[in-house]
Assembly symmetry: none
Homo-oligomer: 243 residues x 2
DNA sequence: TTACAGAGGGTACTGAGTGCCATAGTCTCT
DNA sequence: AGAGACTATGGCACTCAGTACCCTCTGTAA
């Protein structure tokens, strides 16, 4: 039934476009009641990505069983799981890609899906790197890199119409990431110098009327050297105005 | 009017929550017609992020004027523009952060905003790296890394309640990215293009010696109203000093 | 047979977002 | 001053996604 609905929906989306297809249209073609649609898909967008939940679960399971010795390799392999899901149905994936490119609502929805993959990868890396120090930072940056690399290779394949093997492009992209992050780089983390807090107002803005029309007005500011940048900007924004 | 609506909306979101606030509630509090709301904000979510459009335009402008010698440094500095927008209104940013964490719809919306920043950065890198070979790949991965690093530092600051200087965490995070992807060394602040614009210099900084030790020194700046924020900041950074 | 459970269907409602038109203020040209 | 145009705003009606509530049907166990 879920399958029937997903297929009916996808057909209609290709025929009339996503926005010009109502849920009533979908359930009419599928021959079911409108209420049933929302039983199987929380939203209209979900019908376009019917298999991501399963794929996400698969990735989670894979990472839980992964070897601890090479976390970056593990998340790279986890990303390949997603790739294979796409590669398993080239024509569907390509059509969906074209559809998603056209429809802003679907693009946004896809972002939230990708984000969940990314967070799953980041969570795994975090658990290996540790939460403290730069562990969380490295985890998130590497996860983002892996996802970006994967998506680059995947899009390359999708734009080609689903011809050939997508894994070669993705492998190459992931190799580039591994080259940058894979080896344990000597962290030259220099603890940033603490900026002293000025108790007195660091910035004193004056608005001075200029030519006569309000637009040529000039703002004069006085700041102490060493004032934190954000505090200066805060004052200036208030003075210069948002326009 | 836009401002009035945004404030009324944000108040109500904090009071009753996002979903439990209808557009009718907002326009009632703002004292305007319902139709006007959608004139200023395409969707209810947009009212929560009223300044991202301007910030994105600012970033685009900044990158268009950026030096070609150090693309990674340029996109890092571009990311700092976003940071400063958050830092300019700490209490608002923190409240919005907490709100966004709670509401799935807002999280998704924020993702689409972040994505646009990322694509802007990637576009700039792509134009410098070249589209061919690994140029596009490197551009997208580095853009994703920069965004992830920026967001990590930003979230750290937001979770702290907006205390202190967010730039130190973000600088540190961006340094980690630069270490992995950028060329060696090159402090970010020192690459700031030194001045410029003989025609209409928007900012004229003066350093005036103060007490005797260099720390009490005072800087006087003059800016025309309507000057792009990033240009002002650029000048001030050169004058106030990097730290 | 009744009791029950679970899948699907139907109806009415809320609320976001849009299209269309009316009205008021402002600017310009003569 | 007055006609015409342009812009900002309000009002109204409509579509459609998503939800709450209740109904029917079917199969199973006692």
């Amino acid at each position: 039934m879920r399958e029937v609905l997903a297929q009916a929906a996808f057909q209609l989306f290709l025929e009339r476009g996503f926005e010009r297809t109502t849920v009533d249209d979908i359930v009419a073609r599928a021959g079911v009641g409108r209420r049933s649609f929302f039983r199987y898909f929380p939203s209209k967008e979900d019908a376009v990505f019917p298999d991501h939940e399963r794929c996400l679960a698969e990735m989670t399971e894979f990472l839980a069983a992964a070897d601890d010795s090479d976390p970056v390799g593990a998340v790279s392999d986890a990303a390949r799981i997603v790739l294979r899901m796409y590669a398993a149905n080239p024509e569907f994936s390509v059509q969906r890609y074209r559809l998603t490119r056209e429809v802003p609502g679907l693009r946004t929805y896809e972002l939230s899906v990708v984000r969940r993959y990314e967070q799953t990868l980041a969570g795994h890396l975090r658990s290996r790197f540790g939460e403290d120090g730069d562990g969380a930072l490295r985890a998130e940056v590497i996860a983002a890199s892996v996802v970006a690399a994967h998506n680059n290779g995947l899009r390359l394949w999708l734009r080609s119409g689903g011809e050939g093997d997508p894994e070669v492009a993705v492998d190459h992209a992931l190799a580039l990431v591994r080259e940058a992050w894979g080896r344990p780089a000597a962290s030259t983390a220099s603890t940033a110098p603490a900026v002293p807090e000025a108790s007195t107002a660091p910035v004193v803005p004056f608005a001075v009327s200029g030519g006569g029309d309000g637009d040529g007005e000039v703002v004069v500011m006085v700041a102490r050297k060493g004032t934190p940048m954000w505090r200066v900007v805060q004052q200036i924004e208030a003075a210069v105005g948002e326009n």
